[in-house]
């Protein structure tokens, strides 16, 4: 694995490139688009594991942090959805340059699946295959879930605290620890669900439902659970070893 900074040197993005292991790399490279907020933290090591499995079956793979998040440049309050869509295009080009592949597949986890589809619709992102892993119904459904989980978790914390030790209220521009400006909130909530106009696979955890209108033959069952809707898992890492191996195996059969 090679950690890299890429994109505009004035606002570099952080990413990790996993070159294909052993022999010749495939003609398709895989771009991993992660989720946001609590799910970004929970899934960081899990997506590393996925990238390792994908590189193990011959795919050059890149995962990265959107601007204003993780180790990428920028303050969270300056993060905008349009920047994230551009980041996906920038990451695609970086991956093609690093790998020499002739096309990419995109694996979008949760909110990352919506972002990848928005990058396709709004910015012309091209990919041989789009894979959504536990995609939410829509941006508004995703945000509503994040707000509900945050509220449940925070209520539980407050409930345990004595009256003189109650936590201060959240500020107006934050969603449970995440900087969350009004423009970002509006843009996130406006995202539609994933579209089936393009070659797509839906990868679905044991405790999740496939996106609406999914053709049954394009839905793959993951052997692991996501626990995305359970507030008790907010701080528990998601490292789905069996699911990562199965997805890598599936894409190995599906893509050149």
């Amino acid at each position: 694995m090679q950690a890299i900074h890429f994109g505009d040197p004035k606002r570099p993005l952080f990413g990790c490139h996993h070159p294909a292991v052993g022999g010749q790399a495939r003609r398709t490279a895989v771009l991993v688009c992660g989720s946001w907020g609590l799910e970004y933290m929970r899934s960081y090591r899990g997506l590393r594991l996925l990238a390792q499995r994908l590189s193990g079956v011959g795919f050059d793979t890149l995962r990265f942090d959107y601007s204003g998040t993780g180790d990428s440049s920028g303050h969270g309050l300056d993060a905008r959805l349009e920047h994230w869509l551009q980041d996906i295009l920038t990451a695609r080009q970086e991956l093609l340059d690093l790998s020499g592949a002739d096309d990419i597949a995109v694996v979008g986890l949760r909110f990352g699946a919506l972002l990848a589809d928005a990058a396709r619709v709004q910015r012309g992102l091209k990919a041989r295959l789009y894979v959504d892993w536990d995609a939410p119904e829509s941006g508004s459904a995703y945000v509503a879930l994040m707000q509900a989980l945050a509220q449940q978790w925070d209520n539980a914390k407050q409930w345990r605290r004595s009256r003189d030790m109650q936590l201060a209220p959240f500020g107006s521009k934050e969603l449970y620890g995440q900087a969350w400006s009004e423009p970002l909130a509006q843009a996130m909530q406006a995202l539609p669900g994933v579209s089936w106009e393009v070659p797509r696979l839906s990868y679905v955890s044991t405790d999740h439902l496939a996106p609406a209108a999914s053709p049954p033959d394009r839905v793959i069952a993951s052997p692991d659970a996501g626990h995305w809707q359970d507030s008790s898992w907010i701080n528990t890492p998601w490292v789905p070893a069996a699911a990562a191996a199965r997805l890598a195996e599936t894409l190995g059969k599906e893509l050149p």
Binding site: M1, A3, D71, W153, A156, Q178, W233
Partner: protein
């Protein structure tokens, strides 16, 4: 990232198969470094990767780099983007020492100051015990022990508010407070955290004081089951009084979910570091 700081990737430690170094960190570099300042090192908090809870470590790194410090935030083996050594269990002390070795080679400063939250505070403490390159540590919700006054306060709270005490007992059985065990490879690869006894911590503090190591302690209201008043750390470890500042902020939670809380903590770090320059 501010215009006047730069961040670079630091991969260090033993090479893995494929010849990449097994440990990874991000080094924030000031535009106007001061060679007299210690280099700041921030290890992981719990299982979270190097950006820290709610991006806290990134915010600390960038704020301190803007003030002239080099700051490394990094992943211990088995966490984030770092791997445990092939054929060996992960060791937070060994990995922290490898981080300092890598920074030594860059000749950025002569010594190191660790900032650690929760398990990170324990990492800083354990590493300082064996490595004199560490000249300071800022610990957030690190080692905390009961004092006689703590027990009195706890009893008083239980008698005055029996219902709250009961519900906290109940809370331990509620799903949202249970630690989930199925952490897959992340849990398996990271080192199991062993917290030292009060006697060990006391002996270590004496060692640190003999070395004139700088220390500061910050406790939040989320650890009310073991910490209930500002002076508690001094009551348990009187030797720290007059040397190491202790802050108790009951309105703040352990992972600093509020932006105002993160800003408040960073302000405390700034203030403390500035006091060390005097």
């Amino acid at each position: 990232m501010s215009q006047d700081i730069r961040e670079s990737i630091l991969q260090f430690g033993e090479p893995e198969p494929g010849n990449e170094k097994r440990l990874l960190g991000i080094l924030a570099r000031p535009s106007q470094p001061d060679p007299t300042l210690p280099v700041i090192v921030i290890p992981n908090t719990g299982f979270e990767h190097r950006v820290g809870p709610n991006r806290l470590h990134v915010q600390i790194s960038r704020a301190l780099a803007a003030a002239g410090y080099y700051v490394l935030r990094f992943d211990l083996g088995g966490l984030g983007d770092s791997s445990p050594p092939v054929g060996h269990a992960a060791s937070m002390v060994k990995d922290s020492q490898l981080a300092m070795d890598a920074l030594d080679k860059l000749k950025l400063g002569r010594n190191y100051l660790f900032i650690g939250l929760c398990s990170g505070a324990n990492d800083a403490h354990q590493t300082a015990r064996v490595d004199e390159r560490i000249v300071g540590m800022f610990c957030l919700d690190g080692h905390a022990f009961e004092s006689p006054r703590f027990r009195q306060l706890r009893l008083k709270k239980r008698l005055l508010h029996p219902w709250r005490s009961l519900r906290n007992v109940i809370a331990r059985w509620l799903p949202q407070f249970r630690a989930h065990q199925s952490m897959g490879s992340q849990g398996a690869e990271a080192e199991i955290i062993v917290w030292p006894s009060k006697q060990q911590v006391e002996a270590d503090y004496q060692l640190f004081l003999d070395r004139q190591m700088h220390m500061a302690f910050f406790f939040t209201g989320d650890i009310q089951s073991v910490y209930l008043y500002a002076e508690q750390h001094y009551d348990v470890f009187p030797m720290l009084r007059g040397w190491a500042p202790v802050w108790f902020l009951p309105h703040i939670d352990h992972t600093l979910t509020r932006r105002a809380a993160r800003e408040e903590m960073i302000a405390h770090i700034h203030k403390w570091l500035s006091s060390l320059k005097d």
